[in-house]
């Protein structure tokens, strides 16, 4: 790559690197704050406001101990891994497939695309969806989480767009060789859209990791199937106000409650942060193109 090392270039570099450093600092603040808070002394934690740069009071792992001794965390992790794994594999598969199909110039292309788009814009609501799932018999089973979470119209459109951006020369030469559409997709095109597939896979995984609402509705009777986020949410959102106002509860400001909330946030978030490095390798600059010239 030919580089011009002009003054402008150097100035730009300084600005750019400086900007990135500033950005990193600003972005790491919330994570750092939560991490520090989770290691702090609970009573001291109640005094503090603002960002924590280091644990306040005596650093302690008590919060984590309280969280971990709750065995449902393990169950939650296992379930989440199952759901995320299924979503990653099945979801990416179907999304890519659908994106491919929608990118082919067929007569029904427009109709199929609109069909998919329409589902993104209009929804019947909670009760009808629940009734459909109920009739299918998947309520209170794992499938209620896996199946509806598989296909996401938004990502399908992204995949479609990605396939469409590929030069048609690949397709043509493959067709010359007599390849059918499936072969074309798998052997020729997929390697070219690897980056987008990786992104879609990551989006799907993150979405599934963070999702708790479907589980709260469809898995009401099966706590053993709950994903991690739902357990987290139960701990984070203690809706005591209603009970207090009806006189059936007496509020006692739980000193460790605050601490546990921070610990729970870390426990539920750290793993997913580690996923990006694996996805990054697909973003290698300049995918080598081979096979077709002109």
């Amino acid at each position: 790559m030919i580089e011009k090392n002009s003054v402008g270039r150097i100035a730009f570099n300084i600005f750019n690197y400086g900007f990135m450093i500033a950005l990193s600092i600003v972005c790491i603040i919330p994570i750092w704050h939560v991490l520090m808070a989770s290691l702090s002394d609970p009573r001291a934690l109640m005094n503090v406001s603002g960002i924590l740069l280091k644990p306040i009071g005596e650093a302690t792992l008590n919060g984590y101990r309280l969280v971990m001794k709750n065995s449902s965390i393990i169950t939650g992790y296992i379930n989440t891994i199952i759901y995320v794994g299924c979503a990653a594999v099945l979801g990416t598969l179907f999304t890519t497939l659908a994106g491919f199909v929608l990118s082919r110039k067929t007569k029904l292309q427009k109709a199929m695309t609109i069909l998919v788009l329409f589902t993104m814009m209009f929804s019947g609501g909670l009760i009808p969806s629940f009734m459909v799932n109920l009739k299918l018999g998947i309520v209170n089973t794992r499938w209620a989480i896996i199946i509806p979470g598989m296909i996401n119209a938004y990502y399908i459109i992204i995949m479609k767009s990605s396939f469409e951006q590929l030069p048609s020369s690949y397709e043509e030469s493959a067709k010359l060789d007599g390849a059918g559409p499936l072969t074309i997709m798998v052997r020729i095109l997929m390697p070219l859209v690897k980056a987008t597939v990786a992104v879609v896979a990551m989006f799907t995984i993150v979405l599934q990791w963070n999702s708790w609402f479907p589980a709260s509705i469809y898995l009401q009777k099966r706590r053993d199937l709950w994903p991690l986020q739902l357990f987290m949410r139960e701990i984070l959102v203690q809706n005591d106000t209603a009970q207090i106002l009806s006189g059936t509860d007496t509020p006692n400001i739980d000193l460790t409650g605050n601490l546990v909330k921070y610990c729970v946030t870390i426990v539920g978030t750290l793993p997913i942060l580690c996923i990006y490095p694996f996805v990054q390798k697909y973003f290698v600059k300049g995918v080598t193109l081979g096979g077709v010239k002109g």
């Binding site: 790559m1 011009k4 570099n13 750019n16 990135m20 950005l23 990193s24 972005c27 790491i28 919330p30 994570i31 603002g50 960002i51 179907f94 497939l97 659908a98 199909v101 082919r104 067929t106 029904l108 199929m112 695309t113 069909l115 788009l117 589902t119 814009m121 209009f122 929804s123 019947g124 609501g125 969806s129 459909v132 299918l136 199946i147 509806p148 296909i151 459109i157 992204i158 767009s161 990605s162 951006q165 397709e171 067709k175 007599g178 559409p181 980056a195 987008t196 992104v199 993150v206 984070l236 997913i272 490095p277 990054q280 697909y282 290698v284 600059k285 300049g286 995918v287 080598t288 193109l289």
Partner: protein, 315 residues
């Protein structure tokens, strides 16, 4: 299978001949069938629930037994005194997010592309999207602190711009800014991922060709990189226009307070409040349908526009 002679027509626009099309593309349609089945069962079938918006829905009577009231729910919704206000707020907040937020993410992707220290780049990328994963509750809590009367951001603004010292969340004029920047904080890094991926797909050869022609770095970005990722940008833009009415109200719910309802109340938060006092099935269904219709209109409009102006469109 297909005879070689047909290859000429296979790569050009399909002839308007159904039988021919089916013969060519039957395998593609076949691949679509499972997806179609899925969409019908899980998305189209439940759509019958939209009738709720036209009924006085009672869960016991169900969809077939509830009284049909026509447009009454919509009239209730539109005649609410704050309707225009919440509509304006929703549109302003969403459009700010799109037309200011998207360029920011794209810019970040471009800047990251210019970093050559690979390790540095990877680390910055990872850190930049961390805030996305911190729960909205924590971010909202931090923001409320920072903009309080003696908060960090308030101090900054007072010293730099000399604004009056107050709790910024009690002044309706600041809310849009506060909401936008907190959204930016959370979403800048994560939103740039798709563009980073797209940029990585730009062929090296084109860059080299342009460089040989004497194009400066900046020119190369403008003439090679951006056009190459334009379809991605357009796609994202059109999709987000379609979701204008629905995004982001979780954070707003946590940040806002009654004294700034005039700029902070959006359709979703308003409907949520209406639903606190009583089971508001039909009202929220009507509001939801309204959201969908507006979103679809915007989607179609922006799609048509992008087709005319940029030659790319979603459908």
């Amino acid at each position: 299978m297909e005879r070689i002679e047909k290859k000429e027509t296979a790569v050009t626009a399909p002839k308007s001949n159904w039988k021919w099309d089916f013969r060519m593309n039957w395998s593609i349609y076949l691949l679509f069938v499972p997806i179609l089945i899925y969409l019908i069962i899980f998305h189209y079938l439940p759509m019958f629930g939209i009738v709720m918006a036209f009924q006085d829905f009672n869960p016991v009577k169900g969809f077939f037994g509830s009284e049909f009231v026509g447009l009454k729910n919509f009239i209730d919704f539109f005649s609410n005194p704050s309707f225009l206000q919440i509509l304006r707020n929703t549109l302003v907040i969403s459009l700010m997010g799109i037309f200011l937020g998207m360029p920011a993410s794209i810019l970040l992707a471009l800047l990251l592309n210019e970093i050559y220290l690979l390790k540095f780049k990877k680390v910055v990328q990872t850190i930049s999207y961390m805030p996305y994963f911190v729960s909205t509750v924590v971010i909202a809590g931090l923001v409320i602190e920072f903009v309080s009367t003696n908060g960090v951001i308030t101090n900054l603004l007072v010293s730099i711009f000399g604004i009056e010292r107050q709790n910024l969340l009690t002044n309706a004029g600041y809310f849009w800014g506060i909401n936008f920047f907190s959204d930016l904080w959370q979403g800048l890094g994560y939103g740039s991922i798709i563009y980073i991926a797209a940029i990585s797909g730009v062929s090296q050869e084109q860059h080299e060709a342009a460089a040989i022609d004497g194009a400066s770095r900046l020119k190369r970005v403008w003439h090679v990189t951006l056009p190459a990722i334009r379809p991605t940008i357009i796609t994202m833009l059109v999709m987000r226009m379609g979701m204008v009415m629905t995004v982001g109200f979780d954070k707003i719910l946590l940040l806002y307070n009654p004294s700034i309802y005039e700029t902070a109340d959006v359709v979703s938060t308003h409907v949520a409040r209406m639903g606190l006092n009583r089971m508001q099935y039909s009202y929220s269904a009507a509001a939801g349908l309204f959201n969908s219709v507006i979103g679809t209109t915007l989607l179609i409009a922006s799609n048509m526009l992008s087709r005319k102006l940029a030659d790319t469109s979603i459908y």
